[in-house]
C-alpha cells in the first residue's frame, strides 16, 4: 500500500456518509491526532547548541533508558495546538454563562503587563533589595483588596479559591488552638460549592449541612439550632449559589459570633457586590477572593487561579507565611515564624503567591478604578436580572427576583417534555453558546444557573434570550425529545461516553497499545 492510501485509511474505513468527508474533517473543524502519533525519531522543534564535552557528574543516577517522547518540528507543533485550540469554546468566542464561575472578558493589557521582564523574569529567592518593585506591587494589590472588603489584613499566597478556603480554615484552626479551644464542627449550607465541605474535612473538621429555606437562603432557625460551643465556623457563600443575597447575614453573623465561632465567607461571588458592599460591614471574619473570577485573571482552561484571603483583626496574626511588611529599607518579606509573625500557621505553597495573577488583577483594578468597579457589579447584576425577567415566562425561575449576578432556574418548564436540563444545555451548544452551570446548586431540581457577567452587551443578551426561549418552546411542544437527546450535533465530537471512560480508565497514550491496535 502507498503511504497516501494508508493515510486515507487512517481517516475513515468507509465512504463518507451524507454530509461527511473522506478525511473526517469538516471545513474548519480539522481532526488532529495525538502528539505521540506524529513522531519521527530524532526530529526536534528546538535548535540547541551541542553541549560542551565534560566529564559527567551524574554518577550512578545517570539515565540510560530512552524516555519515549515524540519528535516534532516547530510548524507541526504550532499547527497541532492551533487545531486543538479551535476545538474549544472560550470567552473570546462568545457568551459563557457558566454560573458561579464569572467568565468575563479578560483584558489583554493585563497579559502584556504580566509579561514585563521586571515581573515575569524575577526569581522568588533573589535578594529582597533587587525585587522592591515586585513587593510593592503585591502590597499595592493587598491595599486594593483590603479597601474593597473593609478588612484589615490579607493573606496573598493561596494559589486558587479552594486553596484560599484552606488558608481561611487553617487560620481559624490556628486561632482556636491559640485560644485553647477544640471546636471541631463546621456548618456549611447545602447549596455550597463542593470545595467548602472538602476543605473543612482537609483541616480536620467535621461538616454539618444547613438546609435552605423556601426563599433560597440559609434557614436561620436551623442554623441557630446547630450553633454551639463545639462549632468552629460557619462557611457561607454570599451572594449565595442561588444567586441571592443572604438578607439575614448580619443577624447570622451576630449569632455565629455569640456562639464563639468564626464566620467564613466564600467570596466566589464577590463580583456581584464589589465596590458596593464591604464584607467587613456584614460581620465576616475571613473571605477568599478568586482573582480569576472577580478580577478577571484568565481561567486558562482550568487555572492557574489565585485566592487571597482577607482577614479580620482577630485572625490576622495567624495568617500564613510569607508576609510582606514595610521594613526599614523598603519592603521586606517575613518568611519565618518570628516576631510579629510568631503565630503564623505556616506555609501553604512554595514561594510568595501567584505573582503573575497579581499583576493581571492589579492592572484590571487600576483600569476600572473605584468608580469602574462599582459599575462592574451594577452591570453584572443588571444583566442577570434582565435575563431573569426575559426568561421568566419561558423558563421557571427557582426564586423570585431581584437576583444578584446570576439567574437561577429549575427544570419545572421541562416537566413532562422528556427533555432534561442536560439535554437543554447540550442543545444550546449547537446554537453557539457554552451551557450554563447545570444541576448546581443541589438545592434546586435540575438547576440551570446563568451568569452573564457585566462584559456582555445588551445585543448579546437579547440573542441568548431569544435562543433560550426558542429552545424552551421547542421542548414544550413535546415532539422534540429525541432531537434534544441527540444534541449537540455540530461540535467536533457528539456526546461522549463518560461512564465508559470511568469504567475502564485510559489516562495516557501507550506505544504498545497503539502498535497493537495498528496490527489489528
Amino acid at each position: 500500500m502507498n503511504d497516501w492510501s494508508q493515510a486515507l485509511s487512517a481517516f475513515s474505513s468507509a465512504p463518507p456518509k451524507e454530509g461527511g468527508t473522506y478525511s473526517g474533517n469538516r471545513g474548519l473543524q480539522i481532526e488532529e491526532p495525538l502528539l505521540f502519533e506524529q513522531d519521527a525519531p530524532g526530529r526536534c522543534g528546538v535548535d540547541l547548541p551541542e553541549p560542551p564535552p565534560v566529564a559527567s557528574r551524574l554518577g550512578a543516577a545517570k539515565r540510560t533508558r530512552p524516555i519515549g517522547l515524540p519528535g516534532l518540528s516547530e510548524p507541526q507543533v504550532v499547527r497541532h495546538f492551533t487545531r486543538l485550540s479551535q476545538k474549544n469554546y472560550a470567552i473570546d468566542s462568545g457568551l459563557y454563562p457558566l454560573g458561579s464561575c464569572t467568565m468575563k472578558h479578560n483584558p489583554r493589557l493585563n497579559e502584556k503587563m504580566a509579561r514585563l521582564p521586571g515581573f515575569a523574569d524575577l526569581h522568588p529567592l533573589q535578594p529582597q533589595s533587587t525585587v522592591q518593585g515586585a513587593l510593592e506591587l503585591i502590597d499595592r494589590l493587598a491595599h486594593w483588596l483590603k479597601t474593597l472588603t473593609g478588612m484589615p489584613a490579607v493573606a496573598m499566597s493561596p494559589a486558587a479559591g479552594a486553596h484560599g478556603e484552606l488558608c481561611g480554615l487553617m487560620t481559624i484552626r490556628a486561632a482556636l488552638d491559640d485560644r485553647g479551644e477544640t471546636r471541631r464542627r463546621v456548618l456549611v449550607p447545602e447549596s455550597a460549592h463542593g470545595t467548602n465541605p472538602a476543605t473543612a474535612a482537609a483541616c480536620g473538621f467535621t461538616v454539618e449541612a444547613i438546609p435552605a429555606n423556601a426563599r433560597g437562603r440559609v434557614d436561620r432557625a436551623a442554623l441557630e439550632a446547630k450553633l454551639g460551643p463545639d462549632v468552629a465556623a460557619l462557611m457561607l457563600t454570599n451572594p449565595n449559589t442561588c444567586g441571592l443575597f443572604e438578607d439575614e447575614i448580619i443577624e447570622i453573623a451576630r449569632a455565629v459570633h455569640a456562639a464563639g465561632a468564626y464566620f467564613y465567607c466564600d467570596g466566589a461571588n464577590f463580583n456581584a457586590i464589589v465596590g458596593r458592599v464591604r464584607p467587613a460591614d456584614l460581620g465576616i471574619d475571613c473571605m477568599h477572593i478568586n482573582l480569576h473570577k472577580t478580577f478577571s485573571t484568565p481561567h486558562g482552561g482550568g487555572g492557574p487561579g489565585s485566592g487571597p484571603v482577607v482577614l479580620a483583626e482577630s485572625l490576622a496574626p495567624y495568617a500564613p507565611l510569607p508576609w510582606i511588611v514595610h521594613g526599614k529599607k523598603g519592603f521586606a518579606l517575613i518568611e519565618r515564624k518570628k516576631g510579629a509573625a510568631k503565630k503564623a500557621f505556616g506555609r501553604l505553597k512554595g514561594n510568595h503567591g501567584q505573582m503573575g495573577m497579581f499583576v493581571r488583577a492589579l492592572s484590571y483594578m487600576m483600569s476600572h478604578g473605584s468608580d469602574g468597579l462599582r459599575q462592574v457589579s451594577g452591570d453584572a447584576v443588571l444583566n442577570a436580572n434582565y435575563i431573569l425577567a426575559a426568561l421568566g415566562a419561558a423558563m421557571t425561575p427557582a426564586f423570585p427576583g431581584p437576583c444578584m449576578h446570576e439567574a437561577l432556574f429549575d427544570d419545572g418548564f421541562l416537566k413532562d417534555t422528556g427533555v432534561a436540563t442536560l439535554d437543554f444545555a447540550k442543545a444550546l451548544i449547537d446554537e453557539g453558546y457554552h451551557p450554563m452551570t447545570m444541576y448546581f446548586p443541589l438545592v434546586v431540581h435540575g438547576a440551570l444557573l446563568i451568569e452573564p457577567t457585566e462584559t456582555e452587551s445588551k445585543d448579546s443578551l437579547d440573542r441568548f434570550i431569544a435562543v433560550c426561549r426558542a429552545l424552551a418552546e421547542r421542548a414544550k411542544r413535546g415532539d422534540a425529545a429525541a432531537w434534544f437527546h441527540g444534541a449537540p450535533y455540530l461540535t467536533p465530537r457528539r456526546r461522549l461516553d463518560e461512564t465508559g471512560a470511568a469504567r475502564k480508565p485510559v489516562l495516557r497514550w501507550r506505544k504498545e497499545e497503539a502498535e497493537q491496535a495498528a496490527a489489528e
Binding site: 502584556k112 482550568g302 500564613p320
Partner: protein, 448 residues
Amino acid sequence: MRYLPLTEADRRQMLAAIGAPSVESLFRDVPPSARLDAPVDLPTAMGEIEVERSLSALAAKNVSAGSVPFFIGAGVYRHHVPAAVDHLIQRGEFLTSYTPYQPEVSQGTLQMLFEFQTQVALITGMEVANASLYDGASACAEAVMMANRLTRRSKAVLSGGLHPHYREATATYARFLPFRLDAPPPAPEGAEDLMARVDADTSCVVVQNPDVFGHVRDYSELGRACQAKGALLVVVVTEAVSLGAVKSPGEMGADIVAAEGQSLGNALNFGGPHVGLFATREKYVRQMPGRLAGQTVDAEGRRGWVLTLSTREQHIRREKATSNICTNSGLCALAFTIHLALLGEAGFTRLAALNHAKAVQLAERLGRVPGVRILNASFFNEMTLRLPKPAAAIVDKLAKKRILAGVPVSRFYPDDPALADLLIVAATETNTDDDIEAFASTLEGVLR
C-alpha cells in the same frame, strides 16, 4: 469604561424591562447599613497608557534575571522558553476557557491534558499522571496525604534534602490532620539513614532528586527497602529538566512522584504561577488528588476525551473527596506540554545534557576560587558551595555588583550557624561562558 459594553440607554431599557426603578433597587436585599453609596477610597479609572506607565515603573524597580549574570535555582529555574510557547498559550480559546466540564466544546483542552498526562508519565517513568496541581510544594503535601490513605498509616519521613518550602507546606497540613512528620535536619554534605526512621506506622519516605543541595542519587535501594517495610517511596523533583539526564523516579521504584514543572514552558514569575506534577502507579489512581482527562468515544464512535474518575473529587464527593483542589494550573500545564512537544526526545535529552555541562563548567571555575569548596560529589545543574564567610552577605555584595549569585542556605535555615556559609548555585542553558567568568572573578574580588 472600555470593558463595559452597556450604554446608559441600554441600562434604562433593561431596567424598564425588569420593572425596576434603578440599579440600586436591585440591591434591595442588602441590609441598608451595609450599602455603600459612593465609590470606595481608591484611585479612579485609568486608560491603558496610564496603567502601563504606572506598572512599568514598578517593574523597572526590579533587577530582572535576564539583565545580569544569573545563577539562582533552589526550586525555580530560569530556562529559555521557545517563542512559540507563549504565542500558543495566548490563543483565546486556551486562555479564556474554563475547566473542561462540557467535553463537546472542550476537546482542545482535554486532548492537551491527555498529552500532558502522558508526557509527565513518560519523563517520571510512572504509569499515570494527573492534569496538574498548584505547584511542587503543594503536590508534595498531597503525596504524603495520599500515602497515608493508601497505607492507613500516619507517619511520613521527610528527607533533610527536601526543599524547605516543601517541608514547610507538608508540615502545615500535618499540623491540622492526624499524621506526623519525622523530618531530620538538613544534611548538606552527607547521605542520611532514612530507613532507620521507618517503623510499622510509616506511610512513606519522601526524598528529592536532585535534592535541594544539588546531590543526585539513585534511590533504587531505598525503594526496595521501603517496599519491604510496607512504606511508599515518594520522589520529589523540583527541576523537571533533570529528568532528561537522570534515571527516572519510576525506574528507582517510586510509588508517587510530586514535582514542579515550571522549568518547562514557564517563566520564573517571582514564584508563581507554576505547575505541580503528580504521578503514581495505576493501581493507586482512585486515591489520586486532582483532575484526570481520560480517553473515550462519542455517540458516533469517534475517539474523544473527558474529565474522568471525578467521583474522587470535591464537586461530587464533597467532604469525602481525595483533595479539596478545584482550579489547578491548566495554562501552565499547556505551556509545559508545548515546550516538551517542541523539544521531543532529542531536544529534551540535549537540553538536560547542556544544563549538566554548564554546571560542570561552573563547578570547575568556582572550584578554582580561593576559599570556595564544592560540597557535591554528584550533581545535575545545581550544587552547594561552602564559602569562607557567611553566604548571605556575599550574595548581597554580589547583587550590588549586578551578579545574582544563588540562594544562601541561611535564607531557609537562618537559625543554624553551621549552614551560614553555604550557597546553592545553579547553571542552565541560559548561562554563557562570560556569565560564569563574571561570577567567579567577582566572587574572588568580594572574598578577598
